[in-house]
């Protein structure tokens, strides 16, 4: 592999890893704070992508689609938490698995009813449709850099929310000691709703951002879901920074795996996870 293609693969790895982080961070927060295993989280990614497709077709611009899509995703998440997930907190994992598995079927079929089963493309916004020359022959698409930049901005924002704000303090406290938060008179139900809606919006945004690259297709959520599980397992449940590191590890393992070990391409990520399980079954970044 020469340097230019190495550089391209590195940029691709970063972009893929950061995008996965958006999905996995919500998943791990919902696991860590509410103790809920949510199989339907991948569906939010799928829903985001389809929202981007539908709204971009209607408005003619992915920008507009994202601007409209984020509040829609937030509202959708809050509604879902209110109607369904708030009933799951005291149930065992098996019932959570069951309900969220049922939800996947519902979401996929609704998608099929409303939008159909075809594969769709979404246009890259015109101002980002160009590419940057890395060498005389190799170019790198600007849009992928934009995705990475947006994800980095969001990761930094998430860091500030969690480390510096009152909401973040509650999230951190809830992460460690639920009863203490309640004893402080903080409305834990509100935190749960906000965190859940945030998780949905992040996953949906990831789907919207990815839609021009990956195109929009049925069942696109399930692969992302399982990869996000792998990320959460590697990073440790409830750890957002573990999820960030693990997402980058997965991004690099997957991207370089496809180049260096094409015959094992789908498996590399899982082999990495297997290695982590042998080494630290609680995840690399789980605090002792």
């Amino acid at each position: 592999m020469d340097f230019a293609s190495f550089l391209i693969q590195t940029l691709n790895s970063l972009q893929y890893g950061l995008l996965l982080f958006l999905v996995a961070s919500g998943l791990t927060l919902v696991f860590g704070i509410m103790g809920i295993i949510n199989l339907a989280h991948g569906s939010f990614y799928m829903i985001g992508a389809y929202l981007a497709f539908v709204l971009a077709s209607a408005t003619g611009s992915l920008f507009m689609a994202i601007l409209l899509g984020i509040p829609l995703a937030l509202i959708f998440g809050a509604l879902l938490e209110w109607a369904l997930f708030s009933h799951l907190y005291k149930r065992d994992h098996l019932e959570q698995v069951l309900l969220t598995y049922g939800l996947i079927l519902v979401f996929e079929e609704l998608r099929s009813l409303l939008v159909g089963d075809e594969v769709h493309g979404v246009d890259i916004p015109a101002m980002f449709s160009g590419s940057i020359a890395l060498t005389e022959v190799l170019n790198y698409p600007v849009y992928r850099l934009v995705i990475s930049a947006v994800c980095i901005v969001l990761a930094v924002a998430l860091y500030f929310v969690i480390q510096r704000t009152r909401l973040g303090m509650m999230i951190r406290a809830g992460n460690h000691d639920r009863t203490m938060v309640e004893a402080l008179g903080i409305n834990i139900n509100m935190i749960y709703r906000v965190v859940f809606a945030l998780g949905v919006a992040l996953a949906a945004l990831a789907g919207m951002l990815a839609s021009p690259i990956s195109s929009v297709f049925p069942n696109m959520g399930s692969h992302v879901l399982i990869i996000s599980f792998v990320i959460v397992v590697i990073g440790g449940i409830g750890s957002v920074w573990g999820a960030l590191a693990a997402a980058l590890i997965v991004g690099f393992a997957d991207t370089f795996g496809k180049v260096l070990l094409p015959e094992l391409s789908g498996m590399v990520v899982y082999l990495v996870m297997a290695g982590v399980l042998l080494w630290r079954p609680e995840g690399i970044f789980k605090k002792g």
Partner: protein, 320 residues
């Protein structure tokens, strides 16, 4: 003869009569259901009796199915007495190896990790020469039951195959029932109830769980083997997480920790699938809706319904 045994014998008798009707569609549907019932029982050993919620059980089902297809020569029949033990053994072996990894985790982690390993197995068959890609492979000739020139039954014959599957179902049921009464089975149930206490009483619970995981994998392999023989082809979809989810659904529908329940769960599931599918091409929407509603409004699952009715008939007096 007690009532329970009588009911079981009656059920077997009814199942045994089905091929006599000559309705080949229903015989095949029922054969498929019986295969799924074996699959569900194997998972129940983990979920219902040992307390291990595996979301990747389809992997062991699929490994055995692929093993039959790969071990059979292209244009002649393989020996049943070789392929069956080989594919079941392979499934058990894969489960044991995966078990070494996944049993290091607990709770939510265990659910996710079993799912991830099943996905790994999916990609093995999807991406490598082992699996023949997303189209799968055909099993052109079904295994032959010939023993030194004598052919006791013929799996190419639908009726024979049906009875063979029914016999396997009964054998697996009896086998599991026996195991659960053994000291080993009691330890598994103890682990489900209170693993920590089992450890402090001197049980190396990891190894017991691993044995259960391997055993369940092998029995899932029995189902996978039969599935491949019934349908004559295998695809990576057999290992997909939907397959894992569906079998878990059957176990839960039937009320976990109850072998007859697991069989009933397979029947209810296939029945719902068939009925909903006649209503609409989007039958999964109804299925999903039913699942969501069941969890929300029926904590404890369908299996808890008889108990609820009983309690309300007794005037709600008991508070168990």
């Amino acid at each position: 003869m007690n009532a329970q045994l009588f009911l079981k014998l009656a059920a077997v008798a009814i199942l045994a009569c089905v091929p006599l009707t000559g309705e080949s569609f229903y015989t095949e549907l029922l054969a498929k259901t019986l295969v799924l019932a074996i699959f569900a029982m194997s998972l129940d050993l983990l979920v219902g009796f040992t307390g291990l919620v595996s979301f990747g059980h389809a992997a062991y089902f699929g490994v055995a199915a692929y093993a039959v297809a790969q071990l059979s020569p292209k244009y002649e029949a393989a020996s049943l007495w070789v392929v069956l033990p080989a594919s079941v053994g392979l499934s058990a072996l894969v489960a044991l190896v995966v078990g070494l990894f996944v049993l290091r985790t607990k709770g939510i982690y265990f659910i996710m990790v079993t799912l991830a390993f099943a996905q790994l197995a999916f990609f093995v068959f999807h991406d490598t020469p082992l699996g023949g890609g997303s189209d799968g492979i055909y099993l052109n000739v079904k295994p032959s039951a010939e023993i030194a020139g004598w052919v006791p039954f013929d799996l190419d014959n639908q009726t024979h195959l049906y009875y063979f599957i029914l016999a396997m179902l009964i054998a697996v049921y009896a086998f599991l029932g026996r195991i659960l009464q053994s000291p080993f089975g009691r330890v598994l149930v103890g682990i489900k109830s209170n693993e920590h206490r089992m450890q402090s009483m001197g049980y190396p619970t990891f190894w017991y769980k691993l044995a259960a995981f391997g055993l369940a994998g092998g029995l899932a392999g029995v189902a996978g083997f039969l599935y491949a023989v019934v349908f004559g082809f295998v695809t990576p979809e057999l290992l997909s997480w939907h397959q894992s989810g569906n079998v878990l659904l059957m176990v839960i529908l039937g009320g976990m920790g109850n072998l007859v329940g697991a069989i009933a769960g397979a029947f209810v599931f296939t029945g719902m699938q068939e009925v909903f599918a006649t209503w609409s091409k989007h039958w999964q929407l109804i299925m999903g809706g039913v699942i969501v509603a069941a969890v929300l409004f029926l904590p404890g699952g369908l299996a808890a319904i008889p108990g609820r009715i009983k309690r309300s008939l007794q005037g709600g007096g008991s508070n168990e």
